[in-house]
């Protein structure tokens, strides 16, 4: 009985829905505030995301007539659920994630693709031309960044003694230092950061949601509560992708004791995730949006090559 209660608590409160969405919304709020200051303006307050999502929940729930209502309605929920599952698989508090399975790295990579697939389905199901074009661009971009992301992840797994379990990766890093500092894995770290920028649809690669060409891409027809769920899902994805990068490359949740005070692993983990988000914000503010063909060409040459080099170095050396 206690076991199930613990899972219910873990799913709904601690690393689950409440914690993840709160942290995600907060990160996005800070990201918007930093973007504001970088553009020499005041920018919205940090809790702006909570206000936006709250407002959207009060709006009327509309499904366009031309849309295929079943797919259109359940796409946001599906992506939200998938992201919460990923949060449970990640070792956030201690080296031991809530749900453990043998090869959870592969499960995570698969689960992280579900929101992308849901967005594509939503775009096609919304029945508006902008949605269709947005989704087709999303498919193309997915092939672009996924390659680099997976190769970099496997390079890390190979380095940590061919184990696909995150807890063993974290344990490996606890002994001999962060993965990012291993000489062989520096190219992979750069590759995964660029791939993360593509996965999160941040500016150099926000082609599926190019507001000046196709309004909001797949999300054009969404409004009210459904859009709120999509927004929360996106913010959680921001936190989750940063968390995956931290777990793979920057040591994951390591409890420290500074000056006698025992700091739980979560705090260190969140700070490192926040660092990745800030880095992504800086990239977002100094680049223009690429065209879809340029983005694909860029993804398949630069980051994939880097990831392949580090994989080769790890395998051979």
């Amino acid at each position: 009985m206690i076991e199930t209660l613990w899972y219910v608590f873990a799913y709904f409160v601690f690393p689950g829905i409440l914690f993840a969405s709160a942290v995600g919304l907060l990160f996005m709020g800070i990201d918007r505030k930093i973007t504001g200051h970088m553009q020499h303006r005041i920018g919205p307050p940090i809790w702006q995301e909570f206000l936006d999502v709250g407002k959207l929940f009060c709006k009327e729930d509309v499904t366009p007539a031309a849309a295929n209502s079943f797919v259109f309605n359940c796409a946001p929920l599906l992506s939200f659920g998938a992201l919460i599952a990923v949060v449970l698989l990640l070792p956030i508090n201690s080296a031991q994630p809530v749900l453990t399975s043998v090869a959870d790295l592969i499960v995570i990579i698969y689960l992280l693709n579900i929101p992308a697939v849901c967005m594509m389905l939503a775009g096609y199901a919304s029945g508006c031309p902008f949605g269709t074009i947005g989704s087709s661009r999303y498919v193309i971009q997915l092939f672009g960044y996924e390659l680099a992301f997976i190769i970099a992840a496997f390079a890390v797994a190979a380095k940590a003694g061919w184990s696909l379990g995150l807890s063993s990766i974290v344990a490996y890093q606890a002994q001999n230092g962060w993965m990012a500092f291993q000489v062989a894995l520096i190219p992979a770290a750069i590759a995964i950061l660029i791939a993360a920028q593509g996965k999160l649809l941040r500016v150099p690669f926000d082609i599926p949601e190019a507001e000046s060409e196709i309004v909001h891409g797949p999300q054009t027809e969404y409004s009210g509560p459904k859009l709120a769920i999509l927004r929360i899902a996106y913010d959680i994805e921001l936190f989750v992708v940063a968390a995956v990068v931290v777990v793979l490359f920057f040591g994951g949740p390591v409890p420290h004791t500074i000056g006698g005070v025992h700091i739980p692993g979560v705090v260190g983990f969140l700070i490192k995730c926040f660092g990745i988000v800030v880095l992504s914000t800086v990239i977002r503010n100094i680049a223009a949006r690429l065209r879809i063909d340029q983005a694909l060409k860029f993804f398949w040459t630069f980051p994939t090559l880097l990831a392949a080099i580090s994989l080769f170095l790890v395998m051979v050396v």
Partner: protein, 383 residues
């Protein structure tokens, strides 16, 4: 299989309503068809029912951004019809008014272009620097946009000596930021990736399709009314016409930013060489039977007013040909061959000002049926 992609009349990329029907094969553009007329207000007809003094204000409202140039063109045509000579000091005030407007119009366009290619930071910073020019217009002429630098027979507001230091400081600020943005746009790899080689207008096309303004100058056509047909005080001011060669969107950005540097230089010379003296000559109530053409270099290109008077205080016929109207035919060679992603930036690259081009009355969006409102009904709505 080609399918028609409707862009507009309501679309975030277009700041004003127009409608493109773009024939698309996959992502590649095959055909372009254009439907104007959504913001047409029948101004040419309305101008013939107003006296010159009241018509002056209507000519200011043809375009939301370049209104000093519109009123200057109208004034130039009406003054040559009435045979009125505007005093020297007023000619310099008109130059300052026109050039300040060119600066804020180019910065506004550069910001929109940056937004089209998704570079939000550059958009925000460009519009931050545009405030210097707008503040100066507010300081010198009263309003940020609807300035009173020109009026029939001269200028309405004189430039006091105590504003000059503030003006020179703002000009230095504008010059520094214009230089900085030229350097950014020509060296930032993502901007170059999105702008160079996109929407190319060859010099032959530009000359044949009678393109005007920065759109033509970016393709190497050396055509500028301020030098070819000098008005106000441009004959006493030294400046050179900025041209580029390769005619793509990047060239159009650089041409406009370099023109800002020229404008800053022109204003400095105008301030120094401004003579003392009266700023307005008497404008007669009724104008004798005559016809004349007033041409001015608007921020977007050559702007022409043709005025014919018939002895009364109302013009008999006014023809307005705005620069965007001349640049519309050259959209087709620029767009065909490109991809969907390029449409907004290429359309924005000729800096279209739809309310300039259209002058038709309101389309009733609710019923979708176009209804022509007579002026009486319009007035009724306002009361």
């Amino acid at each position: 299989m080609t399918f028609i992609l409707p862009i507009g009349p309501q679309h975030p990329a277009l700041e004003e309503p127009t409608h493109f029907r773009i024939e698309v094969k996959g992502e590649e553009i095959v055909g372009v068809d254009l439907r104007l007329g959504y913001a047409h207000r029948g101004i040419e007809k309305a101008l013939t029912e107003r006296s010159y003094a009241h018509g002056f204000y209507l000519s200011q409202r043809v375009c939301g951004i370049c209104n000093a140039t519109h009123s200057l063109a109208f004034t130039r045509a009406v003054e040559s019809v009435a045979g009125v000579e505007c005093p020297d000091r007023a000619r310099y005030i008109r130059v300052i008014d026109g050039e300040l407007e060119r600066i804020h119009s180019h910065l506004l366009w550069a910001g929109i272009a940056a937004h089209e290619i998704g570079f939000t930071t550059l958009f925000m910073l460009l519009w931050r620097d545009r405030e210097h020019a707008l503040d100066m217009r507010e300081l010198l002429f009263g309003h940020r946009i609807y300035a009173t630098g020109t009026y029939l027979g001269g200028a309405r507001v004189d430039i006091e000596q105590k504003h000059i230091p503030q003006l020179t400081r703002a000009l230095a600020e504008l010059e520094k930021s214009a230089k900085h943005y030229i350097d950014v746009c020509t060296s930032d790899r993502t901007v170059i990736a999105r702008c160079s080689g996109v929407g190319v207008l060859t010099k032959k096309d530009a000359r044949e399709l009678c393109a005007v303004g920065p759109t033509a100058r970016a393709s190497g056509v050396d055509f500028d009314i301020r030098r070819d047909d000098p008005y106000a005080a441009y004959d006493e001011i030294r400046f050179d016409v900025v041209t580029e060669r390769d005619g793509d969107v990047l060239a159009k950005v650089v041409v406009r930013l370099r023109e800002i540097l020229e404008s800053v230089e022109i204003i400095r010379q105008a301030i120094d060489a401004m003579p003392k003296g009266p700023i307005r000559a008497k404008f007669p109530e009724n104008v004798p039977e005559n016809e004349a053409v007033g041409r001015v270099e608007a921020p977007r290109g050559e702007l022409m007013y043709y005025v014919r008077s018939n002895g009364t205080n109302k013009p008999e016929r006014v023809r307005i040909r705005t620069p965007s109207y001349a640049n519309w035919p050259s959209i087709r060679p620029m767009l065909v061959g490109g991809t969907i992603a390029e449409i907004p930036i290429v359309v924005a690259s000729i800096d279209p000002c739809f309310s300039c081009t259209d002058r038709v009355t309101i389309v009733d969006v609710k019923t979708g049926k176009a209804r022509i409102m007579t002026k009486g009904e319009l007035r009724g709505l306002q009361k």
